[in-house]
Structures are given as structure tokens and as C-alpha cells.
């Protein structure tokens, strides 16, 4: 059977949306598809290490203090309630043994899912490669990703 491809743009940085992206990515990889995820804008927070801030200029540092990175502390797209929402949602998910976002990230890597980080967001937010987890396969732009998209059958934007 020829290997089919699936590509996902992870634009959002909220736990619930990112979870949907990773459920599709890991399942597709388990079904034998070649999967590529392109993380851009808020989505880059999934690949960031848990650090207090990031950035080179004062404005970047200010922005990145608010825009916290780390797969384990993404906000919810609704019912954020100053951080109470994610705590409640994580408790519900843990009760049903649903994997956490960091677990889904490792699972995706173990299944061979390719991670591409957007260089544009990377640049204007002032990130450093050291701000990111291992497992980022490439730092690239839209053309690289579109080349993957055009070879694939399915593409999602989340």
C-alpha cells in the first residue's frame, strides 16, 4: 500500500484545539499515514519549553511573558476563568485517562509525526531554538509546508 500523507496547520494555541490536532495526527500515524504538523502563530507555544519568558527586545519579552509557552499549560478556548477552566478540564480528562497534551506530543514523535516550526512567527516573537523542545524536525516557511500539503490527500487548519 503506498504511503498516504496528511498535513495539519496548528495555528491555535489552546489546549482543546491542539488536542483535536494531535488526536488526528497520532491516529493517522497509527493508521500508517505520513503526518506533518506545521506550527505557526499561537500554535508555536505547543513546541516551546516551559520558561518564564522569551524574546530579545523588551516588547518581545513583554509579549512572551503573557504568551506563555509549554504544551502543559495551554489555555482553553472557552471557560478559561483565569486559569480555573484548564485545571478543571485537566482533572476531567485525567479521570477518563485521556492523554495530556505533553503526552500526545511525545506519542506523536514516537509515531514519527514530523513537526515544522514557522520561521516567521519565530522571528517576530524573538524566539531562540533553545526555547523549543527537541523534536522540531525543521524550521521553515509556508512553501515548505505547502509542498507537503500538495503531496498529501488531507490537510487541516486548526
Amino acid at each position: 500500500m503506498p504511503q498516504e500523507r496528511m498535513t495539519i496547520v496548528v495555528f491555535s494555541g489552546e489546549m482543546d484545539r491542539v488536542m483535536a490536532a494531535f488526536i488526528l495526527a497520532t491516529t493517522a500515524a497509527a493508521m500508517g499515514l505520513e503526518v506533518c504538523m506545521f506550527f505557526t502563530f499561537w500554535g508555536l507555544n505547543v513546541l516551546r519549553k516551559k520558561k518564564f519568558t522569551a524574546g530579545k527586545t523588551l516588547l518581545q519579552k513583554m509579549m512572551n511573558t503573557l504568551n506563555r509557552g509549554g504544551a502543559g499549560r495551554l489555555p482553553l478556548s472557552k471557560f478559561q476563568m483565569l486559569g480555573l477552566g484548564p485545571i478543571m478540564m485537566k482533572a476531567l480528562m485525567a479521570h477518563s485517562r485521556v492523554p495530556t497534551i505533553p503526552e500526545l506530543v511525545s506519542q506523536a514523535k514516537a509515531l514519527g509525526v514530523k513537526f515544522i516550526a514557522c520561521t516567521t512567527t519565530f522571528q517576530f516573537m524573538g524566539f531562540d531554538k533553545d526555547d523549543f523542545i527537541e523534536g522540531v524536525d525543521a524550521y521553515a516557511g509556508a512553501a515548505t509546508f505547502l509542498d507537503d500539503v500538495l503531496d498529501g490527500k488531507v490537510s487541516y487548519f486548526i
Partner: protein, 77 residues
């Protein structure tokens, strides 16, 4: 039907059963049968769909009191 190996997916929700099955099937030899026990109803359609895409043979699923037993035969290579 006598399975060669069993995978416990009790209490696991999508996508974990399929991911565990995909990992587990690697341990079997072609032609061997894997039995999967699960509680998530999704297994009814998720497993045949996974089999269709991966080439492994779906042998069936049975349900008793909300517990599912499903069987897969590993593809010949």
C-alpha cells in the same frame, strides 16, 4: 478463535486504543491473531477502519455488558 496475544484497552478513550493496537501489532508474526478488550464503543468502527488502511484483517467484535472483544489478524507483510 484462539488469540495469540491480548491487548487490554479497558477504560481508554480515542485515540489511545488505536495507537496501542498499532504498537502492539508489531510484536506479532504475520497470520497471528490479536485480541483487544475495550470499553470505548468507538472500537466497533475504529478498528475496521484502521484495518482497512493498514491491511490487517478485521475478524470481528463482540459486545457483552459494555465490554468489547475485538480480533485482528496480522497481515502477511
Amino acid at each position: 478463535m484462539t488469540p495469540d496475544d491480548t491487548l487490554d484497552c479497558f477504560g481508554l478513550l480515542c485515540p489511545m486504543p488505536i495507537i496501542k493496537i498499532a504498537e502492539k501489532i508489531k510484536d506479532l508474526s504475520p497470520g497471528q491473531i490479536l485480541e483487544i478488550t475495550a470499553t470505548d464503543e468507538g472500537i466497533r468502527t475504529d478498528l475496521p477502519a484502521w484495518c482497512k488502511r493498514t491491511g490487517h484483517e478485521f475478524l470481528g467484535v463482540e459486545e457483552k455488558n459494555g465490554e468489547y472483544r475485538a480480533y485482528v489478524k496480522k497481515a502477511k507483510a
